[in-house]
């Protein structure tokens, strides 16, 4: 039996095409994925991301625990801070990625993927035995992401109305990658679209009211389809695509998320990762702009002058009105390459990503 979020009924009402996503019945789109994508780039859209796994760590040892479990460093966070991190295995492969929030000393939250939920919880609980920490999954919470250049402005009223003035005022004053600290409901200035906006973590029973108020405020419901094309344009890695347990952060374009300083901090995977850093990774993640209109798709082979690579994510970029891809290719492969799209070799230009920055083409 597929799991349903607190907003399931709302999605049905809005005519969403529902799909199975990691055991959840989630909206793929509400009629037009392209229109939803554009709403986020040009105005404001919202996503039900209640399927994401929210895990609280409330203990004196929580910081020590997270500093050991995460490749980024929890000690870099002050109260109300947020940071993107990978969780590595001992081979420095990525177990999962997510955002780590610090509400206050000894009170942290990890928001991680839903497809990896069971293994993540097993992993965290296994490691927590050495610490006085009990990872606590917040199944009582929903999560709504409101994203776009007008997202914060349009969300102000609805947040005040549903979550109260105190949280709305705190949200107004948030810097990027920060989270409100008043209790229970949390508003974070984070996201996964390359746009400004919020991710609101709130009790399930309040989610429908917030969703309704956001619709009243002119925020467009958007599905997982648009979420994927938005994150691809923004060059944001997706677990199971750009990275997995056999791929290190350095091979996934995520070297910037690894906190090497201070050198004495021991985190899982550090030893292997340090060796790879010194030797240089054999494979790197690049952006590709193929010629023509055919759309590259995940798993397609990339031919470079240094050997074969593979498309990790590919799609049509609505903002650029052209196909784009992320690909893992041999390090040192220079210049252009060819993507094997449906039995044809399509020339492609290697580019830096993001492809879109602040709603504007960046390539």
């Amino acid at each position: 039996m597929a799991k349903r979020t607190a907003l399931f009924g709302h999605h049905g009402h809005a005519g969403a095409k529902m799909v199975d996503f990691a055991g959840w019945e989630m909206p793929l789109h509400y009629g037009s994925q392209l229109a939803e994508h554009r709403a986020v780039r040009e105005c404001a859209g919202m996503f039900d991301v209640s399927h994401m796994t929210q895990v609280d760590l409330d203990a004196d040892d929580a910081e020590d625990f997270l500093r050991y479990v995460c490749a980024n460093d929890a000690a870099r966070l002050g109260d109300g801070g947020a940071i993107y991190t990978c969780l590595l295995n001992r081979r420095a492969g990525v177990i999962d990625d997510g955002i780590m929030y610090r509400f206050q000393a000894g009170h942290y939250r990890l928001v991680i993927n839903s497809a990896t939920r069971a293994k993540d919880l097993d992993w965290l609980r296994g490691l927590a035995e050495d610490y006085h920490v009990e990872p606590w999954e917040r199944c009582d919470l929903s999560m709504i992401a409101i994203q776009g250049p007008e997202a914060r402005e349009r969300a102000r009223g609805p947040i005040a109305q549903v979550l109260g003035q105190e949280i709305a005022t705190a949200a107004d004053g948030l810097r990027r990658f920060h989270v409100t600290t008043p209790e229970r409901s949390r508003v974070a200035r984070t996201g996964y679209t390359g746009e400004d906006g919020y991710e609101v973590m709130l009790p399930k029973d309040k989610a429908p009211a917030l969703w309704d108020a956001l619709i009243e405020a002119g925020v467009t419901p958007a599905g997982l389809g648009a979420r994927d094309t938005l994150r691809l344009e923004a060059g944001l890695a997706l677990y199971g695509h750009e990275m997995d347990e056999d791929t290190t952060p350095l091979e996934a374009g995520l070297g910037w998320t690894v906190a090497w300083e201070p050198p004495e901090r021991d985190f899982i995977g550090r030893e292997t990762l340090s060796e790879q850093r010194e030797a240089g990774a054999d494979r790197v993640l690049v952006g590709l702009l193929p010629e023509g209109r055919a759309v590259p798709r995940e798993g397609q082979v990339v031919h470079t002058d240094a050997g074969e690579g593979i498309v990790t994510s590919g799609g049509f970029a609505p903002t650029l009105e052209r196909p784009i891809a992320l690909a893992r290719v041999p390090a040192g492969s220079g210049g252009d390459c060819e993507i094997e799209i449906r039995k044809r070799r399509v020339p492609a230009q290697v580019v830096d990503y993001p492809f879109v920055r602040k709603g504007k083409p960046a390539v």
């Binding site: 389809g225 209109r293 799609g315």
Partner: protein
């Protein structure tokens, strides 16, 4: 349920076929098919003059989700293609049986068209696939 015009013939690959004059047929994908694919971003139409066997891949419809082949329902020669789709692939989403037509074929053997499904048969087929 999506629209299924009764004056057309259908294939199990969710193409529709309209019989015109002189053994020419117009081919597109059904409303059901476009809804399954989602927003189209690219349509590759066949070149006029190319000859196709029954079941040959003739065109490609690429959506935000995936690329799919459009097959030749019967053998024949391509006599025209909808060039508007190059700039406006969304015509297939908005008007799959009208402005979103994909290509035209002069069929080799008009009797082969009798093998195609009627609207009622197609409707039942599409429903059975949903289960």
């Amino acid at each position: 349920m999506s629209e299924v015009p009764s004056d057309l013939k259908y294939t199990t690959a969710h193409e529709w076929v309209r019989v015109e004059d002189d053994a020419v047929v117009t081919i597109g994908i059904t409303d059901h098919a476009q809804a399954q694919l989602g927003d189209l971003v690219f349509v590759e139409v066949p070149e006029a003059g190319s000859s196709l066997g029954a079941g040959d891949a003739a065109a490609v419809v690429e959506s935000v989700k995936a690329a799919s082949d459009v097959y030749a329902p019967v053998a024949g020669e391509v006599v025209g293609a909808n060039e508007q789709l190059d700039e406006n692939p969304e015509l297939v989403n908005n008007d799959p049986f009208g402005e979103g037509w994909i290509y035209q074929l002069r069929v080799e053997n008009p009797d082969a068209l009798d093998e195609l499904m009627s609207a009622a048969d197609y409707e039942a087929f599409a429903e059975s696939e949903e289960d």
